[in-house]
């Protein structure tokens, strides 16, 4: 499974990319593969204030609905509207066009997240 080096990872399979004071969040390649074909997403409204670890979105495949947890606390800046018409982007480009939302984190030094290699070590081989 692909786990790019420049990202922070939550044990619950979300990734966070920090560009100055903006964080972009998505689900990992492992998560999209385990979910299989995503057919519906429910994303947070901008302005929502969220704590780290709070349920912030839902990603649904044919089989099941899966909760997505905020990898950091902060304020939601925007959600990826393209996903409502093309939720399969999450499967095709989990680290690219399939991002879920952007967040202004409470801290630019997130805690409790894993590096690429530490996250990869948590995955089944």
């Amino acid at each position: 499974m692909n786990t790019p080096d420049n990202l922070h990872y939550a044990k619950s399979h979300e990734w966070l990319r920090l560009d100055k004071d903006t964080g972009t969040v998505g689900i990992t390649d492992h998560a999209q593969s385990a979910l299989s074909d995503v057919v519906f997403v429910e994303l947070p409204k901008s302005g929502r204030v969220v704590k780290q670890g709070e349920v912030i979105a839902t990603v649904e495949s044919v089989k099941a609905a899966s909760d997505i947890y905020a990898p950091v606390g902060g304020t939601i800046l925007e959600s990826n509207e393209t996903l409502s018409s093309d939720p399969g982007l999450i499967n095709r480009e989990p680290y690219g066009q399939g991002w879920l939302f952007r967040i202004k984190p409470d801290s630019t030094k997130p805690t409790g997240l894993l590096s690429s290699s530490d996250y990869a070590a948590t995955l089944p081989h």
Partner: protein, 365 residues
């Protein structure tokens, strides 16, 4: 729940095909190979091949087999002719469903039952309690293979490996000789498509699986997992035991009264309750629901509302790959809302609109 997980006799085939395996009803089974949506579509448009070796295959033999089954089954096996099968139930004294099953009559003193994996040991034990020198039950878990070949190309694919032998009619079963072994082929399935269920010993099953994959490949056949099996069966409005059926739900509440025969003298467990459900109506009934595109799909366990009143709960729900919106079976109190009426289901604390519909969501064969 069984303490250990059994491997399907076809496990080596699944691993070779790169299947993702999950535990289900005590068995380690493929949930998907190439992807649920691709497999669902292949079954609707070409063909799908499913491992159903986990399902219990039970043989009832002897001159008292029919009489014994008549006293235990909700649909009357005496109606069956040689080579014919039908859907039936084993009910408890409260009229609830212990298991739903297919019953085939091979001959006057030889019946073949296909039961759910989760209920197989329990049903076999129950049947064995009724054994006499004139009726014997056999068929332990893990001793045979079963596979389902489903879809518009199923007949063409199966005809290739049977080399022209005529296939059974819908809901019929026949014995064939393939790779030197006697096998059973039934024209039944769990997808709403035309198709076949093929039962054999394990070495023969491995050969049939490989032969069907090869014959089917040019026609668009895909091996299919439990994921698409579930979305396909729900589109066809077919119930799943443990969700839409349970010891607390009667077949009449599930809307399956046509498979309960109350026009015969013989009694069976729960018959008085089922008579009551038929006479004055059941306290609950299963209805179909259709959601809307762009709305969250209905799922098992979500409450269903009509106005402010909760009228029931969703027993199975899925975003329908064919229709592009959510579909569900829901068990609601009677009098139930009618087809076309608006109801709502609750998803993560918010109400989502749905329409009551026929439980047969797709016009299938």
């Amino acid at each position: 729940m069984p303490a250990s997980i059994s491997e399907s006799p076809l496990a080596s085939c699944h691993l070779a095909l790169g299947a993702r395996m999950i535990p289900f009803a005590g068995w380690n089974l493929p949930v998907e190979y190439s992807g649920l949506l691709a497999e669902h579509k292949a079954t609707r448009q070409a063909a799908g091949l499913f491992d159903i070796s986990h399902m219990g295959q039970i043989r009832a033999k002897g001159k008292d087999a029919l009489s014994c089954l008549e006293s235990l089954l909700a649909n009357d096996p005496a109606k069956l002719k040689d080579g014919e099968g039908h859907y039936s139930f084993i009910t408890n004294e409260q009229g609830g469903v212990i298991d739903d099953l297919l019953v085939y009559r091979l001959s006057a003193d030889d019946f073949f039952l296909v039961v759910n994996a989760s209920r197989h040991p329990e049903i076999l034990q129950l049947l064995k309690k009724h054994e006499t020198p004139q009726v014997r039950f056999s068929g332990n878990p893990g001793t045979a293979t079963g596979m389902a070949l489903q879809g518009p190309q199923a007949s063409a694919i199966l005809a290739q490996i049977l080399q022209g032998a005529p296939l059974p009619l819908r809901n019929h079963i026949a014995q064939f000789t393939l790779f030197g072994a006697n096998i059973l082929i039934a024209t039944t399935g769990y997808t709403g498509e035309n198709g076949y269920e093929i039962f054999s010993d394990i070495p023969t099953g491995l050969k049939i699986w490989a032969a069907l994959l090869e014959a089917g490949k040019p026609l668009g056949l895909l091996p299919c997992g439990l994921g698409s099996r579930d979305s396909l069966r729900l589109e066809a409005g077919l119930p799943l035991n443990g969700q839409d059926l349970s010891p607390e739900i009667s077949p009449l509440e599930a809307g399956l009264g046509m498979f309960v025969d109350l026009n015969r003298p013989r009694t069976f467990p729960g018959r008085p309750v089922l008579e009551k459900h038929k006479g004055s109506g059941s306290p609950r009934i299963c209805i179909g629901l259709q959601g809307q595109p762009g709305q969250p799909p209905p799922r098992h366990g979500y409450p269903v509302f009509q106005g402010d009143k909760q009228i029931g709960v969703i027993t199975s729900g899925v975003p329908s790959p064919t229709l592009g919106h959510g579909i569900a079976l829901a068990l609601v109190t009677t009098p139930a809302p009618l087809c076309g009426q608006d109801v709502e289901f609750e998803v993560r604390g918010r109400r989502v609109p749905a329409k009551v519909s026929s439980r047969k969501f797709l016009k299938t064969k």
